[in-house]
């Protein structure tokens, strides 16, 4: 297997790509997808570090993987609510452009 540094490097690159996407794109759906990408990058780092300290067969140390499960749960919840927001935004504004969300009340 490759050294874990490379895994963490890949994770950092993906995280930064997601961050740039979330910061520059104006399409709300793509922003949400970029956030998913950042969460995935973090998951990769968790799995990589967990692989370095796997524990023993009697006392497995799987905290990293359990954390990933929780991140996936949070991502699912986030997407459900985020897409709900997108649908209601389309109803009210007829667009998914973030620039048009400039009022605090509709």
């Amino acid at each position: 297997m490759v050294p874990i540094e490379h895994v963490i490097g890949l994770s950092s690159i993906l995280f930064v790509i997601g961050m740039i996407g979330a910061a520059t794109r104006r399409n709300l759906i793509v922003v949400l997808m970029s956030i998913e990408l950042m969460l995935n990058a973090v998951n990769l780092a968790f799995i990589g570090f967990n692989r370095l300290w796997p524990g023993t067969a009697e006392a497995p140390a799987l905290d990293g993987q359990i954390f990933v499960l929780m991140v996936i749960t949070v991502a699912a919840a986030e997407v459900a609510v985020g897409l709900g927001i997108i649908i209601s935004m389309i109803r009210n504004r007829d667009s998914v452009n973030l620039e048009e969300v400039s009022l605090l009340r509709w």
């Binding site: 930064v16 970029s34 993987q65 209601s88 620039e99």
Partner: protein, 167 residues
């Protein structure tokens, strides 16, 4: 080089290229979300190489099988045509984001640095459903309960947000 290392680099390139394809594709949101799927599947393959089998399967089932399908569903349901996605010309924002990205990347890579130990041999049953399941329902049972509450509140929230008028 061993086979697993070659596979890792292939999937890593695949993940990065398709992630870039998602972020840089400004014309076609459906294609962007499909490249996100490719990233997810490449990451699942890397999880298999890192011997986290259950997480790899869950990654495909939840991310590729449910979350991105939901994205596609919304994009197609709202029938957003390609013209809606032409971005504004915000060169300053893009330049700043690029600069920030490079800065964060350098900082993150600096954090890793040298000094990580050698990759050990995994113990028997590592990353399988048995060990993870036992840990989840003994030591982390509170976490599972909290996750179920979170999902319940997300369902209710999504319903309230997306429903036209609540009766």
């Amino acid at each position: 080089m061993e086979v697993s290392a070659i596979l890792f680099y292939i999937f890593a390139v695949m993940a990065v290229v398709s992630a870039l394809g998602m972020v840089l594709n400004v014309r076609n949101t459906v294609a962007a979300s499909l490249s996100l799927v490719v990233t997810m599947i490449a990451l699942a393959a890397i999880y298999v190489l890192l011997e986290a089998y259950l997480i790899a399967v869950i990654q495909i089932m939840v991310y590729a099988g449910a979350i991105v399908v939901l994205f596609l569903f919304v994009i197609m349901l709202l029938n957003l045509r390609e013209d809606d996605f032409a971005p504004g010309r915000q060169w300053l924002v893009k330049f700043g984001a690029g600069l920030l990205g490079v800065f964060v990347l350098i900082q993150l890579l600096k954090l890793v640095g040298p000094g990580l130990p050698e990759v050990p041999v995994v113990p028997e049953g590592y990353g399988g459903y048995r060990q993870l399941g036992i840990l989840l329902y003994t030591d982390y049972v509170l976490l599972v309960e909290m996750a179920s509450l979170l999902l319940l509140s997300a369902i209710v929230g999504a319903l309230i947000l997306a429903k036209r008028n609540i009766d």
